[in-house]
Amino acid sequence: MGSRFDIRRQTGFTAIAMICFFALYLPIITVVVYAFNAGSSIAIWEGVSLRWFYQAWNNNQVVDASIRSLQIASVAATIATIVATMAALATTRTKPYPGLGFKYAFINQPLMVPEIVTAVALLIFFSRIKIWTGYSGLGYLMAAHTAFCIPFAYLPIRARLENMDLTLEVAAADLYATPWKAFRRVTFPLLWPGILAGLMLAFVISLDDVVITEFVKSGGQDTLPTYMLGQFRRVITPEINAISTVFLLISILIVTVFFFISRKKDQE
């Protein structure tokens, strides 16, 4: 076996791939390791300690920004997933009808425009509305996040729906189920892995956003990423590493669950 000519092999490809995996993880691992540094430098190692995690935990700005991030991500991901589910039901399992292509393009529009351009557009629009209404709360950030989360929630839900045929729903209708009842008792139990995947994707996307948040936020509305971006201009202590590590852990947790849900979908 070993001496057989392997048609799949390409010279040097495995080496480059290994370099890639190494290069992808080396910086991230460095950030995590220095989060446990006892000293106050992110370059000189002075022993293991959890002091920077304590410090971040007791830093009101960090705690406030984290709570704000979670608030915005929860609201935006929930609304985005609900309306994306409705939109996915409206745009799948049908023969083409007038406006279907328009709907696809419109729902995916936030993906096609560079984020900085959307950010600038929202800065202009919301600053007008802030003057007109006098309201300057978190609502603007929630609205902006909901809009760009919709395509991310929509994609996995639509993918799941396209693999489901209408037979069961038709059967439910034949048995005099109302459309709502058919959705609740038939469609939803089959669709939920897609909905959950969409919800988690939208949540991570909202949690990670920097650019749009940076432009839309009013004073004192830092989210965790914009707080971190602001700190980069100062002297960086391992506190940032500690925050990054926790952030990383949450992302990895969500991605892992997401990965297993979409794998389950493939196996069915």
């Binding site: 480059i16 096609m112 351009v117 959307t118 557009a121 902006a144 990383l248």
Partner: protein
């Protein structure tokens, strides 16, 4: 009484109406918090800058003019705005090179994953997915830790005695390119993998039977087969790279701006919202051209294979 045909038509009409109602909330939210504001940017690009930012409602084409030209404050003559042009050029150059580098590293990586046994593939793929979903800011911060003057690369090189002074990498175009290649690499690997997964290796075998060597098989068989993935990955890397804001801000400093930072500047210290708006629309136009190119070549691919 209505005929069966009329009943069916009425049912279909109602179905379409329901489908519009069902998608309305998503469409309205996107219109209010994404598409609509983009239209306002177009209007703002034709107004006059206000003294403290914002705009004065007076028509002007100066915003558009100053994308490319600048008026001499002494003799009122027009000249090319070198500062803007060089930033446009740097953005295009860096995005292009980032695309090339991610392709150079991403292609073998995707190929490596695609040629693993099925069960192993998922693990490797998962290892690519984690950085992909890790906050961009954290990844930028991470690469900064590696290339800083006190970072790993310099520390190791100094310890090994190869250099005596740290090499200044931060705040250079080199830092931007390393950073962007690093953060956008998963965007290249994932679509490449998707098309490599489908390679029919009997074609590769046929290539060897016809006395092709490894390089010829790669160039004449494998690359043509995964061309849609190469195009998709290149577009997915090039477009966000062109509009990059976070990576150049953190790694480039104030001297090595890209388009995204130039746009921000107009809404901050520059206090020239019309110019910022015109620059934003220019960026959007370049992205649209790139997307159009993608749609056309994807269409051609679909046409020849299906």
């Amino acid at each position: 009484m209505a005929s069966a045909e009329e009943v069916a038509k009425e049912a279909e009409r109602r179905d379409i109406r329901d489908r519009w109602l069902l998608s309305a909330p998503a469409l309205i939210i996107i219109f209010l918090a994404a598409t609509g504001p983009l239209l306002i940017v177009v209007i703002y690009s034709f107004l006059t800058p206000g003294p403290y930012g914002d705009v004065v409602w007076k028509f002007s084409t100066d915003g558009w003019l100053s994308v490319l030209m600048q008026r001499d404050i002494f003799d009122d003559t027009l000249a090319f705005a070198d500062a803007h042009l060089s930033i446009f050029w740097r953005s295009a150059k860096l995005s292009f090179m980032t695309t090339i580098f991610t392709l150079f590293f991403g292609f073998p990586t995707a190929y490596f994953i695609a040629t693993r046994p099925a069960r192993q593939r998922e693990i490797w793929l998962f290892l690519i997915t984690i950085p992909f979903w890790t906050n961009l800011l954290i990844r930028t911060f991470a690469i900064q830790e590696v290339i800083r003057n006190e970072g790993i690369v310099n520390t190791v090189l100094i310890k090994l005695g190869i250099i005596s002074q740290p090499i200044q990498m931060m705040f250079t175009d080199f830092a931007l390119m390393v950073g962007m290649t690093y953060v956008y690499l998963p965007l290249m690997v994932l679509p490449l993998y998707a098309s490599m997964e489908k390679i029919d290796f009997r074609l590769v075998e046929a290539g060897y039977d016809l006395y092709a060597n490894r390089f010829q098989v790669l160039r004449r068989v494998i690359i043509p087969l995964v061309k849609p993935g190469i195009i998709a990955g290149s577009i997915l890397v090039f477009i966000p790279a062109l509009g990059a804001y976070v990576t150049p801000r953190v790694l480039g400093g104030s001297k090595n701006m890209m388009l995204g930072n130039l746009i921000e500047l107009q809404f901050g210290q520059g206090r020239n919202w019309p110019l910022g708006s015109a620059l934003s629309i220019s960026l959007m136009a370049i992205v649209m051209v790139a997307l159009l190119f993608y749609v056309r070549s994807a269409g051609r691919q679909g046409g020849t294979h299906g």
